[in-house]
């Protein structure tokens, strides 16, 4: 079933739908309110309408997301949620509400940048309660045990994702890169129980020995352009791990003990996500995380997909590359854009990189 049909089904089942811009946000809180998040990353939209509102030097995610909205591609959504991931999304969220005069409720979420501190946790918790009050007005109040139930759903989905990543890393998944990312990215809109069913079915169908290929770890924002995973398949690359913002950076890699209070637990969960440029985490933390992934999975190198105009990533990439090299890990950073096909020049660089690997 396609994404739109699925979301219409969710509405028919009595849920509200929220269009959510990247990247990290408290999905559990939305679920608790009976709201199904549908994330807007790289929709297949042009940029014709968005061009009247945004300069050409804004990243594709922001431009295409706005295009989708303006061209009526988000009609299933009852709510729009903008996490303050970067300057561009921050302004987009405001632009849509204040200047484009979007009539649907626009909500905001600010991921704190002050480290994983107690202050950040307290602020996050306060913010979650405010967001919950907004959601109550739109989707109705929380039922008894709804937060606990949603936290359990989150645990279930994270466990399924961990399992799938783990199978891939151990070489026990007979799936191409394209198939793997196709499955992972259904989490961008499936209700968590459906996502778990989908991931489990995928793991079952694709159980087996992996296809042979050069084991690589991916970093960056997302597998883009949209044929990238397929092109990597064509080059016999077997992606074994990633810290992609849209994928591996959005679920905790271990089940950690959490406070009993569900609000606190939700805040703690957000603070336990892997290191991320958008969260203001240090490049050392990110490099250590990536190096660990490389070591654990036997990756032979790291391919960094630097999305054009993405400030948080572009600032970190030079030092991240240095840090990888300093650890003796081969690394290549290529500039990418959204779109249908990876440019020949970029793929040539990837090929040359693969040939240079020890």
């Amino acid at each position: 079933m396609g994404r739109t049909a699925y979301l219409q089904g969710q509405k028919a089942a009595g849920r509200k739908v929220a269009a959510v811009w990247p990247a990290r946000y408290p999905a559990e809180l939305l679920w608790a309110h009976g709201v199904c998040p549908a994330e807007v990353w790289d929709p297949p939209a042009g940029q014709a309408l968005a061009g009247a509102h945004l300069q050409s030097y804004v990243c594709g995610i922001v431009r295409q997301g706005l295009e989708l909205l303006l061209s009526g591609g988000l009609t299933t959504a009852d709510i729009l949620l903008f996490p303050h991931t970067c300057d561009s999304i921050q302004n987009l969220g405001s632009l849509v509400r204040d200047l484009v005069h979007e009539p649907r409720p626009c909500l905001y979420f600010y991921p704190p940048r002050s480290g994983r501190s107690e202050r950040a946790a307290v602020y996050l918790e306060a913010q979650l309660r405010t967001l919950s009050a907004d959601l109550t007005r739109i989707a109705g109040p929380l039922r008894d045990g709804a937060l606990e139930g949603a936290l359990a759903l989150g645990n279930g989905r994270a466990a399924a994702l961990r399992h799938m990543y783990d199978l891939r890393a151990r070489g026990a998944l007979d799936a191409s890169n394209e198939e793997f990312y196709g499955a992972v990215r259904t989490c961008e809109y499936l209700w968590p129980e459906d996502a778990v069913l989908h991931l489990e079915a995928f793991m079952k169908t694709h159980a087996g020995r992996p296809r042979r290929g050069v084991p690589l770890v991916l970093s960056g924002v997302l597998p883009a352009p949209s044929d990238l995973a397929q092109r990597l398949d064509g080059l016999s690359v077997a992606v074994v791990e990633d810290d992609l913002l849209a994928c591996g950076r959005r679920f905790a890699r271990a089940l950690l003990p959490e406070p009993g209070d569900p609000w606190r637990a939700m805040a703690a969960r957000l603070l336990a996500l892997p290191p991320c440029s958008t969260a203001g985490d240090s490049v050392e933390d990110r490099a250590s995380f990536l190096a660990e992934q490389v070591e654990r999975t036997g990756g032979r190198g790291v391919l960094v997909l630097a999305l054009k105009f993405c400030e948080p990533e572009l600032f970190q990439i030079p030092s991240l590359v240095d840090a990888m090299r300093g650890r003796g890990i081969p690394v290549l950073a290529v500039e990418t854009e959204l779109g249908n096909s990876a440019p020949a020049g970029m793929m040539t660089r990837v090929e040359a990189f693969l040939e240079s690997l020890p």
Binding site: V62, D87, P112, G115, R119, S319
Partner: protein
């Protein structure tokens, strides 16, 4: 900090530099101004040059004598001053590099190290400087601490994190959540105030100095006064004809950004304000025959400040208001000695760049009316997303609300590699002519 360094610093500050700067001024030949469409230049510009030259010159001697901090333009510097820190503003330094047309040369150094040409050019100048030592000011002192607030953008956080990582310098960060809607919540202000309080022991550790509340209050008082004076300076442009222009404001902004909280800053603005008030009383025009009054949105195009200023004046257009210079006068009324931490949190979290576009629109509309503006020039700064994203719609909305014409200039703050002087001239000339109807 050694006694020798301290004595050297004091000697430079109190004896040598004042003498050197005076001598330099005497020796400087008076260049002919030539035919200028502008009114008489501001006398205070000489004091400004002296003040800022002294600031950068003294900075070299501060290393080892004072704790040195590199500070972002929207950071609560008052706290640092209470520790006697010498503050250097990389954004101001980048603007200076831009004005001296060194932007591309320094940016290239950062790009060679892998930083994308699409990143904020202030950051590229700074990182390029860190990598190459290139600067028009001789040398910047190595910081003991980086002091950063993300109220102007998230970009500054990535930039300062990078600097901290590369140079191994501790970073003190104040995270100011973006206020999309309304006036901010107590949770936001508690969060920010808490971080400012947390910075006290951190700075005590880093600087090896004790926090002195009396000094802190003194600095706060001075900061309040400097920002208020700056507000009054800008307000003189409400007068017809305006006694200075927004281009002057860009230049004379340096002290309130870099020296806020110091007596020299207050003194400077007292002088500037007096000069402007005197001009107002005599109807001295910055643009003789002022016909149109314009508002400038976004940071200055530093490398083109002088030609733009002339071009405006040639067409009888005076830039009389600017969202950027206004930022340092906008929220200082929140500062309250009875609640220093809480009020600092409000002062710094509520600046317009940290608020939704609705607020910015309201602010621009009010400025447009207060300053009787009949046109708007929007600088779409290629490498500054927070300021630029949304400008196209702000332009449309303001046209509707104020009934004014506007023009967008695609440019950058310091990096002129994508700037076409000719194109800008053509666009602006057509715009000015349209104002004449």
């Amino acid at each position: 900090m050694t006694l020798g360094m301290e004595l050297r610093y004091r000697w430079m500050k109190d004896v040598a530099l004042p003498v050197l700067l005076k001598a330099r001024e005497r020796n400087r030949r008076k260049g002919s101004i030539g035919e200028s469409p502008l009114g008489p230049p501001l006398e205070s510009t000489r004091s400004l040059k002296r003040l800022m030259t002294r600031h950068y010159a003294l900075a070299r001697y501060a290393e080892g004598a004072r704790p040195v901090a590199w500070v972002t333009s929207g950071a609560p510097v008052e706290l640092l001053r209470a520790f006697g820190c010498y503050s250097v503003y990389p954004e101001n330094h980048a603007a200076l590099c831009g004005a001296r047309r060194m932007g591309p040369e320094i940016c290239t150094r950062a790009e060679e190290a892998g930083f994308s040409r699409d990143l904020c050019s202030y950051a590229r100048v700074d990182l390029g400087h860190a990598l190459s030592g290139l600067t028009p000011v001789g040398r910047l002192p190595r910081p003991d601490v980086l002091f950063c607030t993300n109220n102007i953008c998230q970009t500054i956080l990535y930039w300062f994190k990078e600097l901290s990582h590369r140079e191994g310098i501790p970073l003190v960060l104040f995270d100011t959540p973006f206020i999309s809607v309304g006036e901010g919540t107590p949770e936001v202000f508690d969060y920010v105030a808490g971080q400012i309080k947390d910075a006290v022991p951190a700075l005590e550790r880093i600087t090896g100095r004790e926090f002195r509340e009396d000094r802190f209050h003194e600095v706060l008082r001075s900061s309040i006064r400097a920002s208020a004076l700056w507000g009054e300076v800008l307000a003189t442009m409400r007068h017809r004809p305006a006694p200075m222009t927004v281009f002057d404001a860009f230049v004379h902004l340096a002290p309130v950004v870099s020296l806020r909280g110091l007596p020299s800053c207050e003194r400077y603005y007292e002088g500037l304000l007096a000069e402007l008030q005197e001009r107002v009383s005599r109807d001295v025009a910055a643009v003789p025959g002022e016909r149109h009054r314009l508002m400038w949105d976004n940071i200055a195009i530093w490398f083109a400040l002088a030609p733009l200023s002339r071009l405006f004046a040639e067409h009888g257009c005076a830039g009389v208001a600017g969202t950027y210079p206004n930022a340092w006068a906008e929220t200082n009324h929140y500062l309250d000695l009875a609640d220093p931490f809480g009020s600092l949190a409000k002062t710094y979290a509520l600046i317009f760049l940290n608020r939704g576009l609705d607020y910015r629109l309201g602010l621009m509309e009010a400025m447009g009316r207060d300053y009787q503006v009949d046109g708007l020039v929007l600088h779409s700064a290629r490498s500054c997303k927070p300021y630029s994203v949304g400008q196209y719609d702000l332009r449309r909305s303001l046209a509707g609300r104020l009934g004014i014409k506007s023009v967008v200039l695609e440019g950058d703050m310091t990096d002129f590699r994508t700037w076409s002087e000719e194109q800008a001239r053509t666009r602006l000339t057509a715009f000015f002519e349209s104002l004449d109807g």
